[in-house]
Assembly symmetry: none
Homo-oligomer: 208 residues x 4
DNA sequence: AATGAATGAGGGTTCATTCAT
DNA sequence: GATGAATGAACCCTCATTCAT
């Protein structure tokens, strides 16, 4: 017999729950946000939520998973358009500079960073996160930088992995500060300055 | 009547509790660590702890307060020795590069960052934190950079506040990554590369 | 309009549900077994089950009802063949001795005993059960024993009701032990020893 | 520093909780009785109960443990007075015959039997229970019977283990029936008849 | 008749905080 | 000052039952 609701319906509902959870977690943090907060936010019943996720922790994990995937997809999409390594790197920073600095986004960052710290306290989760960091985030920039070196756009002496790591660290640091300080934080100037600094470093040669 | 125990005794006991709390928070995070964890760590009784602090939150706040003060004191101490702005800035990075990368320190960072995020969710706390950031941390570097500009060590065009903000953001980002990834993270190389990059920027001129 | 499905079909489905429930209850006990366990066991949907039974409790009651009826029918059937009281009583014990000691049967006993205790906590149910005990189980043995007394097979002094009660109690006790201990319990030897003892008592005269 | 309350105080409180639990379990059965029932029965707070026991299940286990120990102690005590095997066995049945048939006792039996069945569904628990059955309950009667055989009080041909098993099975069966049926069940007559039957069997020779 | 998503009361458990000793 | 037993609000999760499709 045909299923009562489509997979699509269920997927939509899951997403709705995850988005409600994101709001709730953003407001109070994962630990302090209660299932009842998610209930209130989503308009669903407690039981309904447990029909889709088996625990609050699972909601957290899947939420972060989903957002990471969206993030990565967005990053990769922005590089489809061919171009030089320089252009790609510029595009990368442009993506970050253009993020809409809503309060919602500010809260989301808090949730992400909190999750990052959380995962540092759980061996299993930590492995997932560091693997993802190495295999996805690091690789993304390393490849661009290596391409730039091959094409003589960037200085041969630079260490792509070190630069990539620096960029990601700085971006996370900037986000961290923005997440706490909010509107008064010169987020966009920071991103721009970072770009400038990195390009200077890549062109004139760091660690030379 | 004379106090039964000296203030010094009380101060020592408070510090002992705060240090025990730091261990407990480092292990599980603030929310998950329980008063009983602190009891176990400190060897004191529950009642004793509540004689010195009126709530778990207060322990958290005072712990962070204490550590911030220690931090700042340490930073300032390292600049007492006179020197050029360059030397001071170099000393600044050297401080960070030389931090002992123990597991204990890794956990402490987690607690600090968690607190940072936590404070972003509470208006009152947030004000304390951003004020402290502006008045202490920012000022520290801004003053050095301004001094360097006055002494023609650094390029006139640079924006001291922006650079300072960038440095702090990057340091926090590097710490964040180290806190999650741990041993495998090239913490010291990152700090060194950051120094190099910042000096290059300050000397050859960013935003020029 | 004619019924869409025959009564026979419905009866079959009900029996299927009851049998699935028996398995589920046997595995975890009535309280711990969930409707979802019955759903999984039966392959039907939750709604389907509630079309046939109005509650979990009702499934329990009807299951026990059904099994009691089967039990009684089986017992009575084995006495249809004429014979002396002795022969009948021997047949009675033989029935019990020959029960296949499967794990399934072991679990079923658990369900029955659990129900027995359950019913002791509900006045209404208790009345049903004790009436059934008096009117069916007791009567069954009492009649045989009385017949044996009339035919001078058994000692006149024996109290049929007391003996019957003893036999049922002992059988239940043996089943109880078997249900917990399982394979290692000398079930059949116990039944045989019980028979021997009862016959000795009935012939040489108990309570004389 | 001296403990705030004595071990004795704590032991007393534990016993109080266990007794309250026994009442609650007796009323509704283990599963249906809630912690709140125990709270209501005991007059303590929920937290207090969890200071002494880590879960409802543990209360159940310790309750049964305690009662078993009391039971065994009582049984053994009644044999301290020397005597022939016959006298000891008689004393054994007398103990059971003289039990006060209060409603409270009736309910207790229900809890015990329920626990017995419960343990049949948990491998670990089952091992504890069957070991205890073998090492304590069986041994108790087997030793008396063997002594009786050695002293020529009982028939040489009897199988002590089988008889013991039969006695315990029957006693449990009688208790089971009493627990459901209550006042109207001829408990004492049953115990007396059992004694008579067993003695007849032991003296004139069963399985001969 | 059948389906299974939705409901929400209710249960076990935790833990910051209090306070009698 | 110190102790740790007691408190109870609050939380996560379960599951019998309902009902729109």
């Amino acid at each position: 017999m045909a299923p009562i609701v489509s997979d699509e319906y269920k997927e939509k509902k899951k997403r709705h729950i995850l988005e409600s959870a994101l709001k709730a977690f953003g407001e109070k943090g994962f630990q302090l946000a209660t299932i009842d907060d998610i209930v209130a936010e989503s308009g669903l019943s407690k039981g309904a939520i447990y029909n889709y996720f088996k625990s609050k922790e699972e909601i957290y994990l899947q939420l972060m998973q989903m957002r990471t995937e969206q993030n990565i997809a967005k990053l990769k999409r922005s590089f489809l358009e061919r171009g030089t390594a320089k252009e790609k790197l510029h595009q990368f920073f442009k993506n970050y500079a253009e993020i809409e600095l809503s309060q919602k986004w500010q809260k989301m960052i808090g949730v992400h960073l909190e999750f990052w710290i959380h995962s540092g306290r759980d061996e299993e989760l930590k492995k997932v996160m560091t693997d993802r960091y190495d295999d996805v985030y690091q690789v993304l920039l390393v490849e661009i930088i290596e391409e730039g070196i091959r094409q003589n756009e960037f200085n041969k002496e630079t260490d792509p992995s070190l630069i990539s790591s620096m960029v990601w660290g700085t971006i996370d640091g900037i986000c961290l500060h923005y997440s706490v300080i909010g509107r008064n934080y010169p987020y966009q100037e920071q991103i721009r300055a970072l770009e400038e600094m990195i390009f200077m470093y890549l062109e004139k040669g760091g660690s030379a």
